[in-house]
């Protein structure tokens, strides 16, 4: 059975099914992170005092720059496909995967420093919401990395059989990845600076 509207737009929505699907998924993700941001606000306004300077602003800033950089390489990976430049697509997608890995390594050092001092999620309300928000965000990074690795590996062969559908798949991967970046854009000031 062939899945319909993978490349051509569905008449009633004007979109390929995959594109509407990824946006609906992202809408559900907005609600997931929204609930946690809502919890953060409730915990913070209800707290007698809220710690400042618990996290490394330098490491947080570096990770922000890394994730923004990975968003640019991701969109360039898609744009390269649209310009029929397979080599540049592979380069940019590989760079995105590498930057995601560097982000996670930095996060590992951050987590290790806290956990090494016995400051786990049970240590304070701030660290509880910090580990919850960044842990969930980190899982999203891992999910994105798995998808990117697939399209760099076995999934890449679709470029030869159905290049338009492959370009769409990379676009949807990019939409997800930019959303992960978008969440971090709000997590960074909320957790590291305010």
């Amino acid at each position: 059975m062939e899945i319909p509207y993978t490349v051509e737009a569905r008449p009633d929505t004007g979109l390929p099914n995959g594109k509407l699907g990824i946006w609906l998924f992202l809408a559900s993700e907005v609600m997931l992170f929204g609930a946690l941001f809502s919890s953060y606000i409730l915990l913070r306004v209800g707290a007698v005092e809220w710690p400042h300077g618990e996290l490394s602003v330098v490491l947080g800033t570096v990770n922000t720059i890394i994730l923004i950089g990975s968003s640019v390489t991701m969109v360039m990976a898609w744009a390269s496909l649209k310009m029929n430049n397979w080599g540049r697509h592979r380069l940019f997608l590989g760079l995105t995967l590498l930057l995601a890995l560097v982000f996670l390594i930095n996060k590992y050092f951050e987590y290790a420093e806290h956990l090494g001092k016995g400051e786990g999620p049970g240590h304070s309300t701030f660290l509880a919401i910090y580990f919850t928000l960044t842990g969930l965000h980190g899982l999203h990074i891992v999910g994105g990395m798995i998808v990117m690795a697939y399209f760099l590996g076995p999934g890449a062969k679709m470029w030869k059989t159905n290049p338009e559908q492959f370009a769409n798949r990379i676009e949807y991967t990019g939409l997800y990845w930019h959303f992960v970046d978008l969440v971090w854009i709000f997590l960074f000031p909320v957790l590291y600076l305010l």
Binding site: A27, V30, M31, F37, S38, L182, F186
Partner: protein
């Protein structure tokens, strides 16, 4: 198609630079030791600006179909409700 994508590449680079400037501005504003309310307002306004750039340009939301806008408007309304909940809880707290 190639020319359109080529033009967009220049836009992606411009947005990248704007996001970097926004990130440094957020960090800089936090070091200014402003009042808490002012610090939060400035940081969130910059974050909203940066988020709009990512959504509008990288995610191509500035030029999308109505079906996506409809789904996102509903999401935005529900998201606003979620954020409003702790505000209502704060306003309804017991005052000693």
């Amino acid at each position: 198609m190639h020319e359109d994508v080529g033009k967009n590449v220049k836009r992606y680079i411009a947005v990248f630079v704007a996001l970097m400037v926004g990130t440094l501005a957020t960090v800089g504003a936090a070091q200014l030791q402003l009042a808490v309310a002012a610090t939060i307002t400035v940081a969130l306004l910059i974050a909203i600006f940066k988020g709009s750039l990512v959504a509008g340009v990288f995610m191509h939301l500035a030029d999308e179909r109505n079906a996506i806008y409809a789904a996102l408007i509903l999401t935005a309304i529900l998201f606003a409700g979620l954020i409003l909940l702790p505000v209502l809880a704060y306003l309804d707290r017991v005052k000693y």
